[in-house]
């Protein structure tokens, strides 16, 4: 089984960064007061503390990839054809592979490891993804070669600060301390946190990712066209001045 579903951490465990991973990507940790953190890999830019982060934008070259050989019930690996995007080793470790087409019934599996494709090439380069130990495809009807899969990285791999716009991928949380570029650390997803705020908030009301300020949250006004669609990421505990840090109860996870 590996690591437990939830690590029961102590206060202070959430700070700092590690050059080498100590836990599986996306590992959940809960502190005694209920705050939840996910173990994250920072992207290629040094992180900042107490700002809102998001996943890397899914690359189009990893979506709708054709499979080479049919997938049978007992298969433990998926062989695909990558036609336009390089695939680093194990970039989909702890990520997901899913069947996209209606006739394939929407199966989704978590990935244990994947092979390298040094560079994408027209015509396709073969690669393989291995499913988690003990998991077989289990498909009732074999998935035909040529049908397509989507390859999805773990949401906490290569996180980036939410840009100065609507979020462009899944919101991943708020690191409570600096995580160096390509290092590992914890990203808070639930409970009381400090986060940069944009504009005026209302105590006890919900907050959303800011549509204009990088790494910030803003008031979620459900009557505000478009920006409300960013959706809730927490609830306001304390009204802080614009561009300062506010207290938020995160509800991302």
């Amino acid at each position: 089984m590996g690591f437990p579903a939830v690590i029961q951490g102590n206060e202070g465990d959430q700070f700092g960064d590690q050059v080498t991973a100590l836990y599986p990507l996306g590992q959940k940790m809960m502190l005694p007061d209920g705050r939840v953190f996910r173990y994250a890999l920072m992207g290629g830019t040094i992180g900042v503390a107490n700002k809102l982060y998001q996943s890397e934008v899914p690359l189009a070259g990893w979506l709708a990839e054709a499979i080479i050989t049919a997938i049978g019930k007992q298969d433990t690996r998926i062989d695909g054809v990558n036609s336009s995007q390089a695939i680093p080793a194990n970039v989909f470790d702890e990520g997901y592979v899913m069947l996209e087409e209606t006739d394939d019934l929407g199966a989704i599996w978590q990935v244990k490891e994947n092979e390298i494709v040094a560079s994408g090439a027209p015509g396709g380069v073969a690669h393989a993804l291995r499913l988690k130990d003990g998991v077989t495809a289990g498909v009732i009807v074999a998935v035909a070669a040529g049908n397509v899969v989507d390859l999805i990285k773990n949401a906490w791999r290569d996180i980036i600060i939410k840009p100065a716009s609507d979020q462009t991928a899944l919101v991943a949380g708020v690191p409570p301390s600096i995580i160096a570029a390509s290092d590992w650390g914890w990203c808070q997803t639930r409970g009381v946190a400090s986060c940069l705020v944009e504009g005026t908030t209302v105590i006890a009301e919900e907050l959303r990712p800011s549509a204009t300020v990088a790494g910030a949250v803003a008031r979620l006004d459900y009557g505000a066209a478009d920006v409300a669609d960013n959706g809730p990421c927490g609830r306001c505990i304390e009204v802080a001045p614009d561009a300062d840090f506010c207290l938020i109860f995160l509800t991302i996870d």
């Binding site: 579903a5 899913m98 019934l105 929407g106 989704i108 998991v135 979020q167 462009t168």
Partner: protein
Amino acid sequence: MGIQAAPYHTHSNQRFPLGQVMELPDGRIYRYAENGAVALAAAKLCQTMALGANFDTLAIQAARAVGTTTIPFTTSGSTVAENQFADGTVVVEDVALNLGEIYPVKSNTSAADPATCTLTLHDGVTVLNALTTTGKVTVRVNPWKQVIVVPTVAPSQMVVGVPQVIVGISAYGWLQTHGVCNVVVDATVTAWVIGQGVRPSEDDAGGAAFLDFDEAAQADKGLIGFAIIAGTDLDFAPIFLRIE
């Protein structure tokens, strides 16, 4: 905690209490569910069985003192099968008479209509405040009992999760309620937006549509998760499910 393969297993006999929580190491959460009379399709949103209003605001048939372990009520409009409400709940409804207590149900007797149905509370649970025959109760089955795919137009009960595999008629299996999950895309009106919310579809049974908070009526279906990719209409695409 569950093993990676567990969400893909179904059972012809019940192995866990309905609603049992299972969490995988990556934070995906599942609930143990009983399917209804139609096989469940994989990767489609499911809801609690339709109950109607015949189990709301029912008369307490006999007074109950503090510390008792059973609550009898009078059926109204529907018969009750033995243990239909097992692992469900009973809510004391009257504001003037009680404090809104909610009790977990261990078992119940069968009852004709109208007749007395007696609920037995879970082990160790007793009535906290005396009940009188002027009081009313509302009974509910477990939310994961005899689930069905969310019908077209709108959910008629609470949305309770997404199965990873086909669950046969009256079989048992796991419905995902949290974390990365695959679901049918409804992009009939608006395409999904990566990172933004999705809600139950009004066009496709068991599907999920973009949650546009300006969209009259449809936005009221509420958030069930966030899109990970934009997806293709009527195909499957991953979302970060947030039912619980």
